[in-house]
């Protein structure tokens, strides 16, 4: 019986030969992965489906570049992260269309002693959306996605020292936002 990477490889090969059903199967199999990465990168929930569909159209067009030596999921993950980074870059160049932080605007400060973990995650995600996207990308890649600094440097196209500086400033920015909006965050 085929394991998952073998199945992925076979589906990718069939899609390359023009089998639409094989590609449909790949989309069904990996759409949640792409959505999860987008969500963790601070993409607004109402934009996630558009983004996931953009990523898979890109996957289809670049499928011939997929190299079976690596798992399909790894290739897809990289492609998704690159897409998200490009998207953030475009948003920075077009300030009018820059994203409004989804969760920063609609929360009253909450300074309770025991903020539940899900609540903490919600507050943190909101605060992440409120900081500069350069910092958000670095923090998301290294701490949330678990990339090494050198890997994040490759994805972001900046030197490792710059990634570290962004991490440092990003952490400070995040702390400031959280302390200002949710004074009890670090006390809980």
């Amino acid at each position: 019986m085929e394991d998952r990477p073998e199945q992925d490889h076979r589906l990718a090969q069939e899609a390359l030969r023009g089998d639409q059903e094989a590609f449909r199967a790949l989309v069904a199999r990996y759409q949640r992965l792409v959505a999860s990465v987008a969500w963790r990168f601070g993409v607004r929930s109402e934009e996630i489906e558009d983004l996931v569909s953009d990523v898979f159209v890109k996957v289809y067009r670049n499928l011939s570049r997929y190299h079976p030596a690596h798992p399909f999921s790894t290739w897809l993950y990289r492609l998704t992260v690159n897409h998200l980074v490009d998207r953030a870059r475009r948003a920075r160049r077009e300030p009018k269309r820059a994203e409004l932080p989804q969760e920063v605007v609609d929360h009253a400060p909450s300074a309770h002693d025991g903020i539940l973990e899900t609540e903490r995650a919600r507050l943190l995600r909101g605060a992440l959306a409120g900081i500069d996207s350069k910092y958000r990308e670095a923090l998301s890649l290294v701490y949330v996605e678990g990339f090494k600094v050198e890997e994040a440097s490759g994805v972001l196209g900046v030197p490792e020292g710059t990634v570290k500086t962004r991490l440092l400033r990003g952490r400070e920015a995040l702390r400031r936002v959280l302390t200002r909006q949710h004074p009890g965050y670090f006390e809980a």
Binding site: Q20, R24, V27, A38, R40, V57
Partner: protein, 202 residues
């Protein structure tokens, strides 16, 4: 130790596998600097919380229908198509370059191309390349444009060469036939691939 160096060191610690202990000079600094101590404490908390965000998206997502509809509606055609198109283009350019070199080397005195004609060739090539970079259905139009420009510019040379040596006439004819056949094959494959999704839809 300065605060800046201490904070950098704290960051480095969070990036190391296994999260090793802070260096002793940083520890010493933290005992005397409340601001850096808070940074270290809250930073650790922040990193732990960020790592916990690595969870599944908390709502269902199903875009399969939408993705397939977009692929059918767009010019995406087939993922391998661009590779074959580029391969064909490279082969055509190499063949043209080889033939040109051969003619140039063998019949240098016969070549009296005007600069305007060379510009026409360059312009035609640029137009064709731009077209070929677009979706598959433009390939036929691009090759047509390329052929037209090439023929306009090179026909005097071809007839001159043909007059001087009858054997070149058959070579030129064979080249034209080969290019036409290859073009027809590529276009036919494009059309079949474009048509396939529509058939499935119906």
């Amino acid at each position: 130790m300065r605060c800046r160096a201490a904070r950098r060191s704290i960051l480095e610690t969070t990036l190391r596998a296994g999260r090793s202990l802070l260096p002793s000079d940083v520890e010493k600094h933290l005992r005397t600097c409340a601001s850096c101590a808070a940074e270290a404490r809250e930073g650790r908390r922040l990193v732990a919380d960020l790592e916990r965000l690595r969870t599944e998206v908390p709502f269902p997502v199903d875009v399969t229908g939408r993705v397939m509809a977009r692929l059918l509606a767009s010019d995406a055609s087939h993922p391998e198509l661009s590779r074959s198109r580029i391969g064909f283009l490279v082969a055509a350019v190499l063949a043209a370059a080889a033939a040109t070199t051969w003619v140039l080397l063998g019949h240098l005195p016969l070549l009296q191309l005007e600069v305007g004609r060379l510009w026409a060739v360059a312009g035609g090539m640029a137009t064709a390349l731009a077209e070929i970079a677009r979706p598959a259905r433009h390939v036929a139009r691009a090759l047509g444009t390329l052929g037209l420009h090439a023929w306009t510019a090179l026909s005097p040379l071809v007839s001159q060469v043909a007059r001087s040596a009858p054997s070149y006439q058959s070579v030129a004819l064979a080249a034209v036939l080969a290019m036409t056949s290859a073009t027809a094959l590529v276009v036919r494959r494009d059309l079949r691939r474009d048509a396939r999704p529509a058939e499935k839809e119906s």
